[in-house]
Protein backbone atom coordinates (compact mmCIF):
# COMPACT_ATOMS: atom_id res chain seq x y z
CA UNK A 1 0.00 0.00 0.00
CA UNK A 2 1.56 3.29 -1.06
CA UNK A 3 0.67 6.75 0.15
CA UNK A 4 -0.17 7.62 -3.48
CA UNK A 5 -2.94 4.99 -3.46
CA UNK A 6 -4.16 6.14 -0.04
CA UNK A 7 -4.22 9.82 -1.09
CA UNK A 8 -6.01 9.10 -4.38
CA UNK A 9 -8.75 7.12 -2.63
CA UNK A 10 -9.12 9.81 0.03
CA UNK A 11 -10.12 12.43 -2.51
CA UNK A 12 -12.10 10.15 -4.85
CA UNK A 13 -15.01 8.38 -3.14
CA UNK A 14 -15.54 6.25 -6.26
CA UNK A 15 -12.19 4.51 -5.73
CA UNK A 16 -12.07 1.36 -3.60
CA UNK A 17 -10.28 1.27 -0.25
CA UNK A 18 -6.61 0.50 -1.06
CA UNK A 19 -5.42 -3.06 -0.50
CA UNK A 20 -3.78 -3.87 2.79
CA UNK A 21 -6.09 -1.77 5.00
CA UNK A 22 -8.46 -3.77 7.17
CA UNK A 23 -10.20 -3.97 10.51
CA UNK A 24 -8.30 -5.80 13.32
CA UNK A 25 -9.73 -9.14 12.16
CA UNK A 26 -8.35 -8.64 8.67
CA UNK A 27 -11.77 -7.90 7.14
CA UNK A 28 -12.79 -5.10 4.75
CA UNK A 29 -12.91 -1.71 6.46
CA UNK A 30 -14.71 0.79 4.24
CA UNK A 31 -16.26 2.68 7.15
CA UNK A 32 -12.89 2.97 8.87
CA UNK A 33 -11.29 4.34 5.73
CA UNK A 34 -14.30 6.64 5.45
CA UNK A 35 -13.27 8.35 8.72
CA UNK A 36 -10.20 9.74 6.93
CA UNK A 37 -12.21 10.66 3.83
CA UNK A 38 -14.68 12.53 6.00
CA UNK A 39 -11.96 14.28 8.02
CA UNK A 40 -10.34 15.67 4.87
CA UNK A 41 -13.53 16.89 3.26
CA UNK A 42 -15.22 18.23 6.39
CA UNK A 43 -12.15 20.02 7.75
CA UNK A 44 -11.38 21.74 4.45
CA UNK A 45 -15.06 22.59 3.94
CA UNK A 46 -15.00 24.27 7.36
CA UNK A 47 -12.01 26.37 6.30
CA UNK A 48 -13.90 27.52 3.20
CA UNK A 49 -17.11 28.17 5.16
CA UNK A 50 -15.19 30.38 7.59
CA UNK A 51 -13.43 32.18 4.75
CA UNK A 52 -16.40 32.82 2.46
CA UNK A 53 -19.42 33.46 4.74
CA UNK A 54 -21.20 35.81 2.32
CA UNK A 55 -20.82 33.46 -0.65
CA UNK A 56 -22.24 30.76 1.62
CA UNK A 57 -25.18 32.93 2.66
CA UNK A 58 -25.88 33.79 -0.99
CA UNK A 59 -26.07 30.17 -2.17
CA UNK A 60 -27.25 28.44 1.03
CA UNK A 61 -25.41 26.07 3.39
CA UNK A 62 -26.16 22.83 1.54
CA UNK A 63 -25.22 24.14 -1.87
CA UNK A 64 -22.07 25.76 -0.50
CA UNK A 65 -20.94 22.47 1.06
CA UNK A 66 -21.41 20.70 -2.28
CA UNK A 67 -19.54 23.44 -4.16
CA UNK A 68 -16.74 23.40 -1.54
CA UNK A 69 -16.50 19.61 -1.93
CA UNK A 70 -16.11 19.93 -5.68
CA UNK A 71 -13.51 22.67 -5.22
CA UNK A 72 -11.36 20.92 -2.63
CA UNK A 73 -11.21 17.70 -4.67
CA UNK A 74 -10.05 19.67 -7.70
CA UNK A 75 -7.86 22.12 -5.77
CA UNK A 76 -6.66 20.54 -2.53
CA UNK A 77 -4.46 22.90 -0.51
CA UNK A 78 -0.91 23.24 -1.79
CA UNK A 79 0.21 24.86 1.47
CA UNK A 80 -0.01 23.69 5.06
CA UNK A 81 -0.92 27.24 6.05
CA UNK A 82 -4.68 26.95 5.74
CA UNK A 83 -5.41 30.51 6.86
CA UNK A 84 -4.98 31.48 3.19
CA UNK A 85 -6.56 28.38 1.59
CA UNK A 86 -8.98 29.15 -1.23
CA UNK A 87 -7.11 31.62 -3.42
CA UNK A 88 -8.35 29.65 -6.43
CA UNK A 89 -11.93 29.58 -5.14
CA UNK A 90 -13.14 32.79 -6.88
CA UNK A 91 -11.93 31.55 -10.28
CA UNK A 92 -13.46 28.13 -9.58
CA UNK A 93 -16.80 29.74 -8.72
CA UNK A 94 -16.60 31.72 -11.96
CA UNK A 95 -16.32 28.49 -13.96
CA UNK A 96 -18.76 26.41 -11.86
CA UNK A 97 -21.77 25.85 -14.17
CA UNK A 98 -24.49 25.65 -11.49
CA UNK A 99 -23.80 29.27 -10.42
CA UNK A 100 -23.14 30.74 -13.87
CA UNK A 101 -26.34 32.82 -13.51
CA UNK A 102 -24.92 34.54 -10.36
CA UNK A 103 -22.51 36.88 -12.12
CA UNK A 104 -21.59 38.70 -8.91
CA UNK A 105 -20.65 35.56 -6.94
CA UNK A 106 -16.96 35.31 -8.06
CA UNK A 107 -16.37 38.96 -7.15
CA UNK A 108 -17.97 38.53 -3.72
CA UNK A 109 -15.57 35.60 -3.25
CA UNK A 110 -12.67 37.84 -4.35
CA UNK A 111 -13.67 40.45 -1.77
CA UNK A 112 -13.86 37.84 1.01
CA UNK A 113 -10.48 36.39 0.03
CA UNK A 114 -8.95 39.89 0.03
CA UNK A 115 -10.33 40.52 3.54
CA UNK A 116 -8.67 37.33 4.81
CA UNK A 117 -5.38 38.18 3.09
CA UNK A 118 -5.53 41.64 4.66
CA UNK A 119 -6.13 40.17 8.14
CA UNK A 120 -3.00 38.01 7.92
CA UNK A 121 -0.79 40.51 6.07
CA UNK A 122 2.42 41.82 7.62
CA UNK A 123 2.10 44.76 9.99
CA UNK A 124 2.93 48.14 8.45
CA UNK A 125 4.12 51.28 10.24
CA UNK A 126 1.97 54.11 8.85
CA UNK A 127 3.26 57.58 8.03
CA UNK A 128 1.59 60.44 9.83
CA UNK A 129 -0.04 63.30 7.94
CA UNK A 130 2.63 65.84 8.96
CA UNK A 131 5.29 63.89 7.05
CA UNK A 132 3.39 64.44 3.82
CA UNK A 133 4.31 67.92 2.63
CA UNK A 134 2.64 68.78 -0.70
CA UNK A 135 5.89 69.23 -2.66
CA UNK A 136 7.30 65.87 -1.52
CA UNK A 137 4.01 64.15 -2.01
CA UNK A 138 3.35 65.01 -5.64
CA UNK A 139 6.57 63.61 -7.03
CA UNK A 140 6.76 60.62 -4.71
CA UNK A 141 5.82 57.03 -5.22
CA UNK A 142 3.78 55.87 -2.23
CA UNK A 143 4.55 52.72 -0.29
CA UNK A 144 1.43 51.03 0.98
CA UNK A 145 0.77 48.82 3.98
CA UNK A 146 0.88 45.10 3.07
CA UNK A 147 -2.72 44.79 4.32
CA UNK A 148 -4.13 47.26 1.76
CA UNK A 149 -6.32 45.64 -0.91
CA UNK A 150 -8.30 47.11 -3.84
CA UNK A 151 -11.18 45.00 -5.17
CA UNK A 152 -12.87 46.32 -8.31
CA UNK A 153 -16.00 44.83 -9.79
CA UNK A 154 -18.66 45.26 -12.46
CA UNK A 155 -21.15 44.18 -9.79
CA UNK A 156 -22.32 45.88 -6.57
CA UNK A 157 -19.96 43.80 -4.41
CA UNK A 158 -19.81 46.33 -1.58
CA UNK A 159 -23.59 46.56 -1.26
CA UNK A 160 -23.99 42.77 -1.41
CA UNK A 161 -21.25 42.22 1.19
CA UNK A 162 -22.57 44.96 3.47
CA UNK A 163 -26.15 43.66 3.22
CA UNK A 164 -24.97 40.36 4.74
CA UNK A 165 -22.29 41.48 7.16
CA UNK A 166 -23.64 44.82 8.36
CA UNK A 167 -27.37 44.32 7.90
CA UNK A 168 -29.34 46.01 5.17
CA UNK A 169 -31.03 45.31 1.90
CA UNK A 170 -29.59 43.60 -1.11
CA UNK A 171 -29.03 46.12 -3.93
CA UNK A 172 -31.58 46.25 -6.71
CA UNK A 173 -29.44 48.19 -9.19
CA UNK A 174 -26.56 46.16 -10.58
CA UNK A 175 -23.93 48.86 -11.22
CA UNK A 176 -20.30 48.12 -10.47
CA UNK A 177 -18.67 49.01 -7.13
CA UNK A 178 -15.13 48.98 -5.85
CA UNK A 179 -13.86 48.37 -2.34
CA UNK A 180 -10.64 49.46 -0.67
CA UNK A 181 -9.63 47.38 2.35
CA UNK A 182 -7.69 49.32 4.97
CA UNK A 183 -6.31 47.83 8.18
CA UNK A 184 -5.63 50.64 10.66
CA UNK A 185 -5.04 48.14 13.49
CA UNK A 186 -5.69 44.41 13.28
CA UNK A 187 -9.21 44.49 11.83
CA UNK A 188 -9.59 44.89 8.05
CA UNK A 189 -11.87 47.85 7.35
CA UNK A 190 -13.50 47.60 3.91
CA UNK A 191 -14.84 50.86 2.47
CA UNK A 192 -16.65 51.56 -0.79
CA UNK A 193 -14.34 53.54 -3.05
CA UNK A 194 -15.83 56.20 -5.35
CA UNK A 195 -15.38 55.45 -9.07
CA UNK A 196 -13.36 58.69 -9.47
CA UNK A 197 -10.74 57.36 -7.00
CA UNK A 198 -10.37 53.82 -8.31
CA UNK A 199 -8.00 54.51 -11.24
CA UNK A 200 -5.87 56.80 -9.06
CA UNK A 201 -5.39 54.14 -6.38
CA UNK A 202 -4.79 51.48 -9.03
CA UNK A 203 -2.07 53.65 -10.60
CA UNK A 204 -0.47 54.30 -7.19
CA UNK A 205 -0.48 50.57 -6.42
CA UNK A 206 1.27 50.11 -9.78
CA UNK A 207 3.96 52.46 -8.35
CA UNK A 208 3.17 55.51 -10.47
CA UNK A 209 4.05 58.78 -8.71
CA UNK A 210 1.07 60.69 -7.35
CA UNK A 211 1.43 63.47 -9.93
CA UNK A 212 0.90 61.14 -12.88
CA UNK A 213 -1.61 58.94 -11.02
CA UNK A 214 -3.80 62.01 -10.69
CA UNK A 215 -4.09 62.13 -14.48
CA UNK A 216 -6.34 59.08 -14.18
CA UNK A 217 -8.74 60.76 -11.72
CA UNK A 218 -12.42 60.61 -12.57
CA UNK A 219 -14.90 63.44 -12.37
CA UNK A 220 -15.44 64.77 -8.86
CA UNK A 221 -12.14 63.38 -7.50
CA UNK A 222 -11.11 65.13 -4.27
CA UNK A 223 -7.44 64.72 -3.37
CA UNK A 224 -7.90 65.86 0.23
CA UNK A 225 -10.65 63.33 0.90
CA UNK A 226 -8.71 60.61 -0.89
CA UNK A 227 -5.53 61.16 1.14
CA UNK A 228 -7.53 61.47 4.35
CA UNK A 229 -9.10 58.07 3.68
CA UNK A 230 -5.72 56.41 3.10
CA UNK A 231 -3.97 58.15 6.00
CA UNK A 232 -6.86 57.48 8.37
CA UNK A 233 -6.62 53.81 7.51
CA UNK A 234 -2.87 53.72 8.10
CA UNK A 235 -2.40 52.71 4.47
CA UNK A 236 0.63 54.83 3.55
CA UNK A 237 3.86 53.55 5.05
CA UNK A 238 6.52 55.39 3.10
CA UNK A 239 7.50 57.78 0.32
CA UNK A 240 10.12 57.11 -2.31
CA UNK A 241 11.33 59.84 -4.64
Amino acid sequence: MTQAAFAAALLDPDLAVPDGLTDPQGRAAALRFGVYRNNVVSSLTKVLEAGFPVVRALVGDGFFAAMAGAFLRRHPPTSRILMLYGDEFPAFVQRFPPVSHLGYLPDVARLELALRQSYHAADGVPLSADMLTPDRLLTARLHFAPALRLVTSDWPVWSIWAAHMRGGLMPTAMQGESVVILRPGYDPDPRPLAPACVPVLAALLATEPLESALDHAGEGFDLTDFLALLLGGGAITGLAP
Binding site: G20, D23, A29, L31, S43, R80, I81, L82, Y119, Y186
Partner: protein
Amino acid sequence: MFDHPRAALPAGPGVGYKPQHLAAILADPAPMQWLEIHAENYMGAGGRPLAQLRHLAERFPVSVHGVGLSIGGEAALDADHLARLRHLCGWLAPASFSEHLAWSTHDGAYLNDLLPVPYTTATQARVCDHIDQVQEVLGRRMLLENPSTYLTFTESHLAEVDFLAGIARRTGCGLLLDVNNVHVSAINQGSDAQAYIDAFPLDLVGEVHLGGHEADLGDHGAALLIDSHAAAVADPVWALFAAVIARAGALPTLIEWDNDLPDWPVLAAEARRAAAVLEGVA
Protein backbone atom coordinates in the same frame (compact mmCIF):
# COMPACT_ATOMS: atom_id res chain seq x y z
CA MET B 1 13.15 39.62 21.79
CA PHE B 2 13.10 36.39 23.84
CA ASP B 3 16.75 36.10 24.72
CA HIS B 4 16.18 34.53 28.14
CA PRO B 5 16.98 30.83 28.39
CA ARG B 6 14.23 28.44 27.36
CA ALA B 7 12.14 27.21 30.29
CA ALA B 8 10.71 23.71 30.41
CA LEU B 9 6.95 23.17 30.44
CA PRO B 10 5.61 23.11 34.00
CA ALA B 11 4.41 19.70 35.19
CA GLY B 12 0.88 21.07 35.57
CA PRO B 13 -2.18 21.63 33.41
CA GLY B 14 -2.02 23.43 30.07
CA VAL B 15 -4.77 24.26 27.60
CA GLY B 16 -4.87 24.37 23.80
CA TYR B 17 -5.13 28.08 23.01
CA LYS B 18 -8.08 29.39 21.01
CA PRO B 19 -8.45 33.13 20.30
CA GLN B 20 -12.09 33.00 21.47
CA HIS B 21 -10.76 32.49 25.03
CA LEU B 22 -8.20 35.30 25.08
CA ALA B 23 -10.14 37.74 27.26
CA ALA B 24 -11.14 35.03 29.75
CA ILE B 25 -7.56 33.74 29.97
CA LEU B 26 -6.12 37.20 30.55
CA ALA B 27 -8.76 37.88 33.24
CA ASP B 28 -8.23 34.60 35.12
CA PRO B 29 -6.09 31.83 33.64
CA ALA B 30 -6.23 29.51 36.69
CA PRO B 31 -5.51 26.68 36.84
CA MET B 32 -3.84 26.80 33.39
CA GLN B 33 -0.05 27.08 33.78
CA TRP B 34 0.92 26.98 30.10
CA LEU B 35 -0.66 26.92 26.68
CA GLU B 36 -0.19 25.12 23.42
CA ILE B 37 -0.59 26.49 19.90
CA HIS B 38 -0.74 24.80 16.53
CA ALA B 39 2.36 25.96 14.68
CA GLU B 40 0.65 26.40 11.29
CA ASN B 41 -1.84 28.93 12.69
CA TYR B 42 1.05 31.29 13.44
CA MET B 43 2.86 31.16 10.12
CA GLY B 44 1.10 34.17 8.62
CA ALA B 45 3.01 37.35 7.82
CA GLY B 46 1.50 39.45 10.61
CA GLY B 47 -1.73 40.78 12.04
CA ARG B 48 -3.65 39.87 15.18
CA PRO B 49 -2.71 36.16 15.54
CA LEU B 50 1.00 36.95 15.86
CA ALA B 51 0.36 40.00 18.06
CA GLN B 52 -1.72 37.87 20.45
CA LEU B 53 0.92 35.16 20.54
CA ARG B 54 3.68 37.67 21.34
CA HIS B 55 1.54 39.02 24.18
CA LEU B 56 0.66 35.59 25.60
CA ALA B 57 4.25 34.36 25.37
CA GLU B 58 5.33 37.12 27.75
CA ARG B 59 3.01 35.67 30.36
CA PHE B 60 2.85 31.90 29.83
CA PRO B 61 5.20 29.11 28.78
CA VAL B 62 4.18 28.02 25.27
CA SER B 63 4.29 24.61 23.63
CA VAL B 64 4.39 24.60 19.82
CA HIS B 65 2.51 21.64 18.37
CA GLY B 66 2.94 21.07 14.64
CA VAL B 67 0.18 19.46 12.62
CA GLY B 68 1.52 19.72 9.08
CA LEU B 69 5.12 18.49 8.95
CA SER B 70 4.16 15.05 7.56
CA ILE B 71 6.95 13.26 9.42
CA GLY B 72 5.52 9.90 8.35
CA GLY B 73 5.42 10.90 4.69
CA GLU B 74 7.16 8.83 2.01
CA ALA B 75 8.50 12.05 0.48
CA ALA B 76 11.30 14.19 1.88
CA LEU B 77 10.31 16.79 4.48
CA ASP B 78 9.32 20.12 2.96
CA ALA B 79 12.31 22.44 3.37
CA ASP B 80 10.18 25.60 3.27
CA HIS B 81 7.92 24.30 6.01
CA LEU B 82 10.90 23.32 8.14
CA ALA B 83 12.30 26.82 7.65
CA ARG B 84 8.99 28.34 8.79
CA LEU B 85 9.07 26.13 11.91
CA ARG B 86 12.63 27.21 12.61
CA HIS B 87 11.59 30.85 12.28
CA LEU B 88 8.63 30.40 14.65
CA CYS B 89 10.65 28.43 17.20
CA GLY B 90 13.42 31.01 16.83
CA TRP B 91 11.54 34.14 17.82
CA LEU B 92 9.09 32.43 20.20
CA ALA B 93 11.62 30.19 21.99
CA PRO B 94 8.83 27.79 23.06
CA ALA B 95 9.23 25.48 26.04
CA SER B 96 8.46 22.48 23.82
CA PHE B 97 8.05 21.44 20.19
CA SER B 98 6.04 18.38 19.23
CA GLU B 99 4.68 16.73 16.09
CA HIS B 100 2.70 13.66 15.09
CA LEU B 101 3.49 10.16 13.90
CA ALA B 102 1.47 10.74 10.73
CA TRP B 103 1.61 11.99 7.16
CA SER B 104 -0.52 14.71 5.59
CA THR B 105 0.95 15.65 2.24
CA HIS B 106 1.25 13.87 -1.05
CA ASP B 107 2.44 15.08 -4.43
CA GLY B 108 2.12 18.76 -3.55
CA ALA B 109 -1.30 18.45 -1.93
CA TYR B 110 -1.84 19.07 1.79
CA LEU B 111 -4.63 16.76 2.96
CA ASN B 112 -5.20 18.36 6.38
CA ASP B 113 -5.54 15.14 8.34
CA LEU B 114 -3.20 12.96 10.38
CA LEU B 115 -2.95 9.92 8.13
CA PRO B 116 -1.68 6.56 9.42
CA VAL B 117 1.57 4.70 8.74
CA PRO B 118 2.23 0.95 8.79
CA TYR B 119 4.42 -0.25 11.65
CA THR B 120 7.32 -1.75 9.71
CA THR B 121 11.07 -1.41 10.06
CA ALA B 122 11.16 0.46 6.73
CA THR B 123 8.67 3.08 7.96
CA GLN B 124 10.54 3.30 11.23
CA ALA B 125 13.82 4.04 9.44
CA ARG B 126 12.17 6.76 7.34
CA VAL B 127 10.56 8.42 10.36
CA CYS B 128 13.92 8.33 12.18
CA ASP B 129 15.62 10.08 9.25
CA HIS B 130 12.93 12.77 9.26
CA ILE B 131 13.15 13.31 13.01
CA ASP B 132 16.95 13.55 12.82
CA GLN B 133 16.48 16.28 10.21
CA VAL B 134 13.85 18.17 12.27
CA GLN B 135 16.00 18.10 15.41
CA GLU B 136 19.03 19.25 13.44
CA VAL B 137 17.21 22.14 11.73
CA LEU B 138 15.43 23.29 14.90
CA GLY B 139 18.45 22.70 17.09
CA ARG B 140 16.34 21.08 19.77
CA ARG B 141 14.82 17.79 20.88
CA MET B 142 11.27 17.22 19.69
CA LEU B 143 8.45 15.13 21.08
CA LEU B 144 6.65 12.61 18.84
CA GLU B 145 2.95 11.92 19.52
CA ASN B 146 1.27 8.51 19.36
CA PRO B 147 -1.65 8.54 16.89
CA SER B 148 -5.29 7.59 17.11
CA THR B 149 -5.85 4.86 14.53
CA TYR B 150 -8.89 3.48 12.75
CA LEU B 151 -7.37 1.01 10.28
CA THR B 152 -5.05 -1.99 10.55
CA PHE B 153 -2.24 -2.34 7.99
CA THR B 154 -1.74 -5.95 6.96
CA GLU B 155 1.97 -5.18 6.45
CA SER B 156 2.52 -3.95 10.06
CA HIS B 157 4.79 -6.26 12.00
CA LEU B 158 5.77 -4.10 14.98
CA ALA B 159 3.65 -3.15 17.98
CA GLU B 160 2.98 0.60 18.13
CA VAL B 161 4.76 1.02 21.48
CA ASP B 162 7.86 -0.78 20.17
CA PHE B 163 7.71 1.27 16.97
CA LEU B 164 7.65 4.56 18.95
CA ALA B 165 10.18 3.46 21.56
CA GLY B 166 12.59 2.39 18.83
CA ILE B 167 12.34 5.78 17.16
CA ALA B 168 12.93 7.60 20.43
CA ARG B 169 15.94 5.40 21.19
CA ARG B 170 17.52 5.95 17.78
CA THR B 171 16.84 9.70 17.37
CA GLY B 172 16.95 10.84 20.97
CA CYS B 173 13.52 12.44 20.58
CA GLY B 174 11.02 12.43 23.42
CA LEU B 175 7.44 11.22 23.26
CA LEU B 176 4.12 12.96 23.67
CA LEU B 177 1.64 10.51 25.16
CA ASP B 178 -1.92 11.25 24.04
CA VAL B 179 -3.96 9.18 26.47
CA ASN B 180 -7.19 9.71 24.53
CA ASN B 181 -5.46 8.36 21.43
CA VAL B 182 -4.38 5.30 23.42
CA HIS B 183 -7.99 4.63 24.41
CA VAL B 184 -9.41 5.36 20.93
CA SER B 185 -6.85 3.14 19.20
CA ALA B 186 -7.29 0.31 21.72
CA ILE B 187 -11.06 0.19 21.17
CA ASN B 188 -10.62 0.49 17.39
CA GLN B 189 -7.87 -2.16 17.25
CA GLY B 190 -9.45 -4.48 19.81
CA SER B 191 -6.36 -4.23 22.05
CA ASP B 192 -5.75 -3.47 25.73
CA ALA B 193 -5.15 0.20 26.58
CA GLN B 194 -3.80 -0.54 30.06
CA ALA B 195 -1.29 -3.03 28.61
CA TYR B 196 -0.21 -0.30 26.16
CA ILE B 197 0.35 2.14 29.03
CA ASP B 198 2.19 -0.54 31.04
CA ALA B 199 4.57 -1.08 28.10
CA PHE B 200 5.04 2.60 27.24
CA PRO B 201 8.45 4.11 28.10
CA LEU B 202 7.08 6.81 30.40
CA ASP B 203 10.59 8.07 31.19
CA LEU B 204 10.69 9.47 27.65
CA VAL B 205 7.35 11.31 27.92
CA GLY B 206 7.67 15.10 27.94
CA GLU B 207 3.98 15.92 27.67
CA VAL B 208 0.56 14.30 27.98
CA HIS B 209 -2.53 15.12 25.90
CA LEU B 210 -6.11 14.65 27.10
CA GLY B 211 -8.90 15.18 24.58
CA GLY B 212 -12.43 14.06 23.80
CA HIS B 213 -13.75 11.48 21.35
CA GLU B 214 -17.05 10.43 19.86
CA ALA B 215 -18.53 6.96 19.54
CA ASP B 216 -19.58 5.73 16.11
CA LEU B 217 -20.40 2.39 14.54
CA GLY B 218 -17.74 0.85 12.31
CA ASP B 219 -17.56 -2.02 9.84
CA HIS B 220 -19.21 -5.35 10.74
CA GLY B 221 -21.16 -3.74 13.62
CA ALA B 222 -18.05 -3.04 15.73
CA ALA B 223 -17.73 0.08 17.87
CA LEU B 224 -15.51 2.77 16.34
CA LEU B 225 -14.25 5.73 18.34
CA ILE B 226 -13.46 8.99 16.53
CA ASP B 227 -10.76 11.30 17.90
CA SER B 228 -12.86 14.46 17.51
CA HIS B 229 -11.39 16.89 20.09
CA ALA B 230 -14.95 18.15 20.36
CA ALA B 231 -16.01 16.82 23.76
CA ALA B 232 -14.99 16.50 27.41
CA VAL B 233 -12.35 13.93 28.33
CA ALA B 234 -14.10 10.57 28.83
CA ASP B 235 -13.97 8.61 32.11
CA PRO B 236 -11.89 5.66 30.79
CA VAL B 237 -9.32 8.22 29.58
CA TRP B 238 -9.19 9.85 33.02
CA ALA B 239 -8.62 6.38 34.52
CA LEU B 240 -5.73 5.68 32.14
CA PHE B 241 -4.31 9.14 32.86
CA ALA B 242 -4.37 8.42 36.60
CA ALA B 243 -2.45 5.20 35.94
CA VAL B 244 0.14 7.10 33.88
CA ILE B 245 0.66 9.74 36.56
CA ALA B 246 0.75 7.16 39.36
CA ARG B 247 3.70 5.52 37.62
CA ALA B 248 5.48 8.50 36.05
CA GLY B 249 4.78 11.31 38.54
CA ALA B 250 3.46 14.70 37.46
CA LEU B 251 3.86 15.61 33.76
CA PRO B 252 2.87 18.65 31.69
CA THR B 253 -0.72 17.77 30.72
CA LEU B 254 -2.74 19.45 28.00
CA ILE B 255 -6.52 19.74 27.73
CA GLU B 256 -7.13 19.58 23.98
CA TRP B 257 -10.46 20.84 22.62
CA ASP B 258 -10.40 22.02 19.00
CA ASN B 259 -13.96 21.73 17.65
CA ASP B 260 -17.39 22.76 19.01
CA LEU B 261 -15.51 24.99 21.47
CA PRO B 262 -17.04 25.47 24.90
CA ASP B 263 -16.69 28.63 26.97
CA TRP B 264 -13.52 28.99 29.01
CA PRO B 265 -14.97 27.79 32.38
CA VAL B 266 -15.59 24.34 30.87
CA LEU B 267 -11.93 24.08 29.83
CA ALA B 268 -10.78 25.47 33.18
CA ALA B 269 -12.83 22.75 34.93
CA GLU B 270 -11.17 20.05 32.79
CA ALA B 271 -7.77 21.55 33.62
CA ARG B 272 -8.67 21.52 37.33
CA ARG B 273 -9.55 17.84 37.10
CA ALA B 274 -6.16 17.17 35.50
CA ALA B 275 -4.45 19.29 38.19
CA ALA B 276 -6.11 17.23 40.91
CA VAL B 277 -4.66 14.03 39.42
CA LEU B 278 -1.23 15.65 39.02
CA GLU B 279 -1.27 16.78 42.63
CA GLY B 280 -2.16 13.26 43.71
CA VAL B 281 -5.35 14.29 45.45
CA ALA B 282 -7.92 12.91 43.00
